[in-house]
């Protein structure tokens, strides 16, 4: 058994940043990073567009806060937003000092670009592979610290909780197939989102909500799970992300008549050059809804993978595309055979981000002593009912640092967990895993079948437009799938690198996350941000200006509510 002061699960942007923050506080702290993949494979790597902070004179912290709160449809906790915008600039400059290759202005300063829902240019970028550069910079910098120990390819299976305090995690060491207990005084969950509960997503295979489900099972609430962001521009078929930066640089969205349709939905007037917060730089939830309405009017294209519209970049010219959007050009050429210099790219809305997650306060603390969470897996709430593009990468850094520092400070005040208690808990976990997965015999359901049915149910009931009937049906279907999951067949009996058992774990976690999403959505009888209902189409501040909390029970989630923290921005109508 390994024992550390801080055990961080997840080696993406938030996890690495938390580890570095803790490592810098004291060389005597022992910090573990437990990840089911090597850190440079984490999904942070796919982020493209940029990361926002107030760095220029024409900008202000209040403006960034207002944009964020407005974009969140007033469901964001304003104290969290204020802390976020204040700490964001320092975090991005720190990244620069660590070597991040930000794109630069001629005078040598870091460049900023326009992004959806932002009033001014404040999104820093590294060409159009910002997440890639951020992740690699953090990973390479983390190698400096001898007190950060990595447990690569260790799959989290549960949190160890003794006497109301978290005391570590159990994981499966993929190389041996055995349970690896990693004990710790504190645990920080940075396991990312769960987009793979949907059939069509920008998310990588690994985004299965593992940490969210683990916290949920340990009695921690999942907050605001119903808010799932659809990114308006993903490639049809694969769901591969085409960054918002392509619209920030001036790209146009056109329906099948070649018409810039966003002007019909209150986002006009259409201008040749992008105007902040208007047209193609509107917030993501509104743009995705516009696409669906165009579909309802029969004005979208129809292709082998369903409906799509055009993202036209031709007027930007080859030089700008090669300089600012080279990865977009590469992706479009490779995966849909389109060169955006000469032809418009086919795009459609695709599940991208979960605003909801493990409920934390503004210091990344959860309701379970010693447990923290940061990044997409957490819900502070910074992003409320809808996230603005380029706030997420910054969120990883700001709240990753907060989680690392808070956990480190707490770890120095408490004693190491008792080995006997941990051994007992670990033995229980080994028995559970043997029974349900590792030594499971028989079964007749294929893992892929249950997974696909879950994804179908989520698409039907928890998509862009929701109603009572469809959501109820989805909740029921998920309960049935939970039962059927007990009957899965596991063909791979090997212990070395058994990825079939891994996909079974992931499906197990995803079913929990999906239930939290669907049930939270069913109970929220209003439309706000990315949660849009055809039966309750208006925002209802009187009854629903509050966060949804989903608690796990054997029969499904129990829903409670938590008020939103309002400091200086009173809710108003959200018009762009």
């Amino acid at each position: 058994m390994f024992t550390h002061d801080i055990v961080i699960v997840g080696g993406g942007g938030a996890g690495l940043r938390a580890a570095i923050a803790a490592a810098e506080m004291s060389a005597k702290l022992s910090i573990a990073i437990v990840s089911k993949v090597y850190p440079m494979r984490s999904h942070t790597v796919s982020a493209e567009g940029g990361t926002a902070a107030v760095l220029r004179d024409f900008d202000s912290l209040d403006l960034h806060a207002k944009d964020t709160i407005f974009g969140a449809d007033f469901l964001a906790d304003q104290d969290a937003v204020e802390a976020f915008v204040t700490e964001a600039p320092g975090e991005l400059i720190q990244l620069e000092h660590w070597g991040c290759p930000w794109s630069r202005d001629p005078d040598g300063r870091v460049s900023v670009r326009s992004f959806g829902g932002m009033s001014v240019d404040r999104t820093l970028f590294a060409a159009d592979k910002t997440g890639f550069h951020l992740l690699h910079t953090l990973f390479q910098t983390s190698l400096k610290y001898d007190n950060i120990i990595r447990y690569d390819e260790c799959f989290l299976t549960s949190l160890l909780v003794d006497d109301g305090k978290v005391c570590g995690v159990t994981s499966i060491n993929l190389y041996t197939g055995r349970v690896e207990v990693i004990a710790g005084k504190t645990v920080i969950l940075c396991t990312g989102g769960g987009g793979r509960i949907f059939p069509f997503t920008t998310n990588a295979a690994i985004n299965t909500g593992d940490g969210m489900a683990a916290a949920y099972r340990a009695g921690v609430a999942l907050k605001d799970m119903e808010f799932v962001q659809y990114h308006p521009t993903g490639l049809p078929g694969t769901g591969i992300l085409i960054t918002e930066a392509s619209r920030g640089e001036g790209g146009w969205l056109k329906n099948k008549d070649g018409y810039r349709y966003l002007q019909d939905y209150g986002l006009g007037p259409p201008t040749d050059k992008p105007t902040h917060r208007k047209m193609e730089l509107g917030p993501r939830d509104i743009l995705s809804r516009c696409h669906m309405q165009e579909l309802a009017k029969g004005r979208t294209f129809e292709g082998p993978y369903g409906h799509y519209v055009h993202l036209d970049l031709r007027h930007l010219g080859e030089e700008i595309i090669n300089k600012k959007l080279p990865f977009v050009r590469e992706l479009a050429s490779k995966y849909v055979g389109i060169d955006p210099v000469y032809e418009p790219i086919p795009v459609r809305p695709v599940v991208h981000y979960m605003m909801g997650g493990i409920s934390t306060d503004i210091n990344a603390k959860t309701s379970l002593a010693g447990l923290y969470a940061a990044g997409e897996t957490a819900c502070v709430s910074l992003n409320g009912a809808n996230r603005l593009g380029s706030n997420s990468l910054t969120e990883l850094l700001v709240f990753g640092t907060r989680a690392g520092r808070t956990a480190a400070a707490y770890a120095t005040t408490i004693a190491a967990p008792a080995a006997a208690a941990i051994d007992a808990l670990a033995a229980d976990e080994q028995r559970r895993l043997d029974r349900q997965f590792l030594r499971k015999d028989g079964g007749k359901e294929r893992i892929a079948t249950i997974r696909q049915e879950m994804q179908q149910a989520m698409e039907e009931g928890a998509g862009i437009y929701r109603d009572e009937q469809k959501m109820e049906k989805t909740c029921k279907t998920l309960r049935t799938l939970r039962e059927r999951f007990k009957d899965i067949v596991i063909e791979d009996r090997g212990s070395t690198f058994n990825t079939e058992v891994m996909t079974a774990f992931e499906l197990d976690f995803m079913l929990d996350v999906a239930e939290a999403v669907a049930n939270s959505a069913l109970k929220r009888r209003e439309s706000r941000g990315s949660h849009t209902r055809t039966d309750f189409s208006k925002r209802d501040d009187e009854n629903f200006l509050k966060h949804t909390l989903a608690y796990r029970t054997p029969d499904g989630p129990r829903i409670e509510y938590l008020p939103v923290t309002i400091t200086r921005w009173q809710p108003e109508e959200r018009k762009y």
């Binding site: 993949v37 070597g99 005078d107 791979d492 090997g494």
Partner: protein
Amino acid sequence: MAEPTITLNVTRYRPGQDQAPTTQAYAVPYKQDWVVLDALNHIKDQIDGTLSYRWSCRMGVCGSCGMMVNGVPKLTCAAFLRDYYPHEIRVEPLVNFPIIRDLVIDMSDFLDKLKSVKPWIIRKEEKPVAQGEYLQTPAELEAFHQFTQCINCMLCYAACPVYGVEPKFLGPAAIALGYRYNMDSRDQGKEQRDVIGNHDGIWDCTFVGECSVVCPKDVDPAAAIQRSKVDTTKNWFQSILMPWGER
């Protein structure tokens, strides 16, 4: 009319069970825009759940899915079935690495080497964050930018015959990363990256050049290595002829 299919001949290796790797043939549906990774996922989901391989982003940026496709190191998320159809496709784990299981290879040597080049900014004095960013012109960024693009997919190690016969060789990606930091105007740590100039570093390289040919991100590690040779040689002469000068 039956759906068209294509056959994949995939390496299988189960430690403890198999003495040596074997090959298993699978017939998968042929779809025009499927990549080899889609075919592998189909096998795992519908035909044989025991096949193990790594993958994640499916868009060529995470570096997980590198394998040998018909003897050429490729990202399987970027190898389209239509480029091979109707012929059979051989899918094998990356060569020059020990095999853990099926198509999964052991990367720990690579990660050790990555760390050994000290891939972080090293400075004599750090500027406080409150004072803002280090200024760096677009031209200074251009000088090392291409070498920042490495996704750690290790196709270059699979292509390098030197790494195959001499496992102590630092290798293309690690050296290119060290070079990236040496060329970054903000870095001052060239002397500390001495592992690059050692005899298992750049001097093991005989410029076969295959690393740059297979690199999916055009990092051109071969260029980084040869330029490092020129740099190191220049520095050595300078230190001999002008020992009083600052390097």
